[in-house]
């Protein structure tokens, strides 16, 4: 008995002495409710997201104990860097919508809130009702709206310049991770299209010959080296009668499979060029973190969101 008490006291002493060592204090200022967002949505975000994604972290006493605080504080700092709801008011509405859709999809993929976090903070766990409320609200923020005449005018001018051969991929700069522009994707096979009403774009997904062969061989769970998938996006142009056509060119993104070369970025080279002047995306090579993080839920599908069309149907009888 005496021995057990001694061990307990020693351990207690170690824990107490550990408390003199602690990480840099977290800044903690109150975060207002998000402006223009219903109270029930604000309550859910505050309960499940704000601790790591706002300037206000309501920590429990055990979160502040060393050594747990080293892990918790670092985690919160990283979380705030990725998404900070305290800055909501300074974010433009389209970007706010992007944040909400991205968050919702991370929640539905059960990536967020982090299971390691909800294991200890049971209260942060989202119920099916919470998720439904978030989904309904997020979808309500992006109704299709008739495109402004000025936007149509800009798209018309861009089209005229394109037809006249004035818009071409001339001296396009490589992306910060060293990928050169791939100009011939438009002659590749189309493997799907996507109506991205969350951000008002329309997308066409192209595949190079290697990728097309992989589709033919049903190897889309593990695309072979040499696969290139291009996703081109245009602004959706909504007419008064509700019909939607492709408008201004927005961007083109590429995923280039090379397991060895791109080992650090999930086996894929990631690249994106924006606007008809094809400006490389990303301030530095770390922009790929954004890509891999977004595609992470698709790990079991080799990080590819697209479910390709089967292009090789052989007709039994020609008409």
């Amino acid at each position: 008995m005496k021995k057990k008490v001694s061990i307990f006291l020693i351990l207690l002493g170690i824990v107490i002495s550990m408390q003199f060592v602690h990480p840099e204090k977290l800044s903690d200022t109150p975060t207002e409710d998000l402006a223009g967002v219903p109270a029930e949505v604000n309550n859910i975000l505050r309960k499940s997201c704000f601790d790591c994604h706002s300037s206000q972290s309501d920590l429990h006493w055990y979160d502040r104990l060393t050594p747990a605080n080293f892990f918790v504080y670092r985690h919160i700092r990283e979380g705030r860097k990725v998404l900070d709801f305290s800055k909501w008011d300074s974010v433009a509405t389209p970007a706010q919508n992007n944040i909400l859709y991205y968050s919702l999809n991370k929640i539905l993929e059960e990536e967020m809130p982090l299971p390691s976090y909800t294991m200890v903070h049971k209260n942060a766990k989202l119920s099916p009702t919470d998720i439904e409320i978030l989904k309904k609200y997020t979808l309500s923020r992006t109704p299709r709206k008739t495109t402004d005449a000025s936007v149509i005018n800009t798209a018309d001018k861009e089209y005229t310049r394109f037809i006249q051969g004035e818009i071409t991929a001339g001296n396009v700069k490589p992306t910060p991770n060293g990928i050169a522009y791939i100009p011939d994707y438009r002659s590749w096979k189309v493997i799907s299209t996507s109506d991205r009403f969350d951000n008002g774009t329309m997308r066409i997904i192209f595949a190079n010959d290697v990728a097309v062969k992989a589709i033919q061989n049903h190897q889309t769970q593990n695309w072979p080296d040499g696969t290139i998938i291009a996703k081109a996006a245009w602004k959706a142009q909504v007419k008064a009668d509700g019909q939607i056509s492709i408008g201004q060119f927005f961007q083109v993104e590429f995923m280039i499979k090379d397991v060895k070369k791109y080992a650090k970025t999930a086996g894929w080279g990631w690249a994106r060029w924006r606007g008809s002047d094809l400006k490389p995306y990303g301030a530095n090579s770390m922009f790929t973190t954004e890509c891999t993080s977004c595609h992470k839920p698709m790990k079991d599908n080799d990080y590819v969101f697209t479910k390709p069309l089967d292009l090789f149907t052989q007709f039994k009888k020609r008409n």
Partner: protein, 158 residues
């Protein structure tokens, strides 16, 4: 004997567990592809894409495909006077919510395929395929459909 039985049971159990754990990925969107028993002159999905459109009222999305002649013409011309030999296909799909991304719709099954073939006289022969399997059906509003399909312009891509 008992040992052999245990080994067999072990192998079967491990195989079963491995099968349960292996992920099949998304696979292909077979539902939205043309089918072996569709009665089409060719697979339009193998041609060049010119542009794409959406009709939210009908929950459909369409892509305009063209053969080489049509694609080259659409790349350099604003007009709808496609040269002889041009073939256009307007493939219309029902839409479905993208299970991988809330905020997106992707193609479901094919609703119709409309075909325009331009003759030497500059006339467009219009054919429409519908149903499951897809087969030629009576064309309605031919002039209106030819105009609507051929007036679509090439999606700009530098």
């Amino acid at each position: 004997m008992k040992r052999i039985f245990n080994i067999v049971v072990g192998i079967v159990t491990l195989t079963f567990l491995a099968a349960c754990n292996s992920s099949t990925g998304l696979g292909l969107n077979e539902q939205a592809s043309v089918k072996t028993n569709d009665k089409l002159p060719e697979n339009p999905l193998l041609l060049h894409i010119i542009t794409s459109s959406i009709c939210p009222k009908d929950s459909t999305m369409a892509s305009l495909y063209g053969n080489d002649t049509a694609f080259i013409y659409a790349t350099h011309h604003k007009g709808r006077e496609y040269p002889a030999g041009s073939i256009l296909y307007e493939v219309t799909w029902r839409q479905q919510a993208d299970e991988q991304w809330v905020g997106a719709n992707i193609p479901k099954e094919i609703f119709s395929i409309e075909r325009l073939e331009y003759t030497a006289t500059g006339r467009a022969i219009y054919t429409i395929y519908k149903g499951s399997p897809l087969k030629k059906v009576m064309a309605k509003n031919t002039l209106k459909r030819v105009a609507a399909i051929s007036k679509q312009r090439m999606a700009v891509s530098p």
